[in-house]
Symmetry: C2
Subunit: 380 residues, 2 copies
């Protein structure tokens, strides 16, 4: 009965009629993640709310030999959250509850669909936050972060997602609920967390995640240094780490992106710079003041054109807005040197159709992600 009306009825029995997407236009929204190069729409999308529902769904699909693919918020950039052979996609967006906050043990347990930033927002008033901060953190889910072992700018100092996952509940393809790890730092037996975090659903569907919470640092200082040459910026980054300073974040942004960010986000990065370094320090005020002084010196030693220190939270937020929305900003421009005649890639396009004219509407990315170019359609 795989993929038959009877199968659909079974799905609806498990998650309710409002928990199943089966229309062509509904399924279209699930045909790819942010890496739109690869596409594959599922036959059905289901939106469970509980672990028992996920378990029942997996058991049904196993019995009927139907492929199962989990999906978080779909912001991945490697085409992981799509259904290349159809089947059932299990969207975790309704499993978004914060199950437990345990401050004495500095951890929280969440459902996989909880948005990354929501956890930090729920814990900040208590002095805690969740450290992994992919640029998508205002929309990406913690289940997706864990399934892809997501990184982020602050992972330089604090490590990637796997370093912050303490325990997992997952439904395996065999139709079992497993508990792996937990609040204690260490447990007997093989540590399988490394394989499960980043497993992209191939080893099971994550249904609950226990993550580490960190104390909000006493102070934060954000610097931006501009250089005429990208080599100077690179050498500066190496020299900072070489001096024994591990900044919370240390991001290099090249000329093309600086321009894109200024035009698209209005972050006011230095105009005409060959490269920009964004440096963030956090920790006790005494520590970050000392480190900032040392970093300013290192930047000057490497011919920095300009060094800015964010004076308040608003300035800091603007500097980060530039970095975090860089990918989107690049979509606004057709960077010279990359493609003079951005081409929509539609079959038969003469490379000068209405969509292909640089108009601000054609989306061309200079980044290796190229995540929007392939979706532009030639309307010739």
């Amino acid at each position: 009965m795989a993929l038959s009306p009877a199968f659909l009825a079974e799905l609806e029995r498990i998650v309710g009629a409002r928990g199943v997407v089966s229309t062509p236009e509904g399924r279209l929204a699930y045909e790819c993640d942010m890496h739109t190069f690869y596409k594959g729409a599922p036959d059905f999308v289901v939106l469970p709310e509980t672990t028992p529902q996920v378990l029942e769904l997996v058991r049904l699909c196993r019995r009927e030999h139907v492929a199962v693919v989990p999906r978080g918020s779909g912001t991945g950039l490697i085409g992981g959250a799509m259904a290349p052979v159809g089947g059932v996609m299990v969207s975790m967006t309704r499993m978004n509850r914060l199950l437990e906050l345990d401050f004495p043990n500095r951890c929280a347990t969440v459902q996989p669909g909880l948005i990354n930033l929501w956890l930090s927002e729920a814990t900040r008033e208590h002095g805690y936050y969740f450290a992994p901060d992919p640029s998508s953190q205002m929309v990406s889910s913690i289940g997706g972060n864990a399934s892809t072992n997501a990184g982020g700018p602050h992972c330089l100092k604090y490590g990637i997602t796997v370093n912050h996952v303490l325990g997992l509940e997952l439904v395996t393809g065999a139709g079992e609920v497993l508990q792996v790890g937990g609040k204690p730092q260490d447990a007997p037996g093989y540590d399988l967390m490394g394989a499960l975090v980043g497993g992209e659903g191939t080893l099971g569907l994550l249904t609950a995640i226990t993550v580490r919470l960190l104390h909000v640092p006493a102070g934060v200082k954000t610097l931006l240094a501009s250089f005429s040459a990208i080599d100077d910026a690179s050498e500066t980054a190496s020299a900072i780490v070489g001096a024994g300073i591990i900044p919370a974040a240390l991001e290099m942004i090249d000329e093309t992106f600086v321009r894109a960010i200024n035009e698209g986000v209005g972050a006011g990065y230095p105009k005409g710079a060959g490269a920009v370094l964004l440096v963030e320090l956090d920790g006790p005020e005494a520590e970050i003041d000392a480190q900032a002084g040392r970093i300013v010196q290192i930047c000057h030693d490497h011919a920095a054109l300009e060094i800015r220190v964010a004076k308040d939270e608003a300035e800091r937020a603007l500097l980060w807005k530039g970095r975090k929305e860089a990918a989107g900003a690049v979509g606004r421009m057709s960077p010279p040197g990359f493609s003079r005649t951005p081409w929509c890639r539609a079959p038969g396009c003469p490379k000068s159709c209405a969509r292909c004219r640089p108009s601000g509407r054609v989306i061309v990315s200079s980044s290796p992600m190229s995540f929007t170019r392939a979706t532009a359609t030639c309307i010739r």
Copy 2:
């Protein structure tokens, strides 16, 4: 030909006659690790010097269906480095070369038999060190540390061994050499490091280990606070972490151990204290000064009897000597309340034999390790 003279000849062909231990008295030294409760001597001990030798040994044993057990320095406390069913023990003590120091990438590659402390000694003059510091670090090997995922006092801030292993070369039981991980922080595919580190040789014999090196911190400050009640010391530890300070190390030592350390090591811990907290801070001077001030305040708030700050490296070393040699120190005493008549446990001992009289020579431990009691022999 398993375990026959022909088998011995094969072993000698691979590692040389001086690389095989086959006498009863020679094998006796390998019958247990520091957890002497469980014993099992191997039929042969081999001491290879290269990965190809390890590979050939494993292939020989596989062909002959002989069990293989790897062994580092034998300082483990859980009975892992013994041969419960006999067979061949592969001692890594001759595979103790430092293969590569790579400071720009902050890592080193070592053979498994390299002593933990030797790596820090080899890198300290360049400003680096290896963070995991089990109390056995002056004798335990990095291969053993990795195989048991060893911890240590400074793992509170810096994480356990798995957090410092970047890559492994191992010989699997199938007789293959595998490379897992490497210098880059992240790689495609499942991350199996968590299972391999701490695998105790069950998944393969480690033959080379690439580990992270950390910068030697700019400053170190070591404090010792004494309390009349262990609850006060516990609350203080929680309050320090609760205040957002993660010390490099934070160790609590109870009354019995304080007495043992003072008598056995002469570390001069405060006499009559119900518990002692040993706190070490590291980082930029400005940071640790600020944190030390806050910690002193927290100790006072929890009725600390006395707070000492190590004035120099000699004082610091003495405070740590107490902690690091605590297990040995306890062996010197028969703690009241644990056993008035320490019993040597030899079969038929009347519990009052010459060895069983509390004499300072009978070794009785109040720790759950009890690692020496079982080896005392009744000489009645």
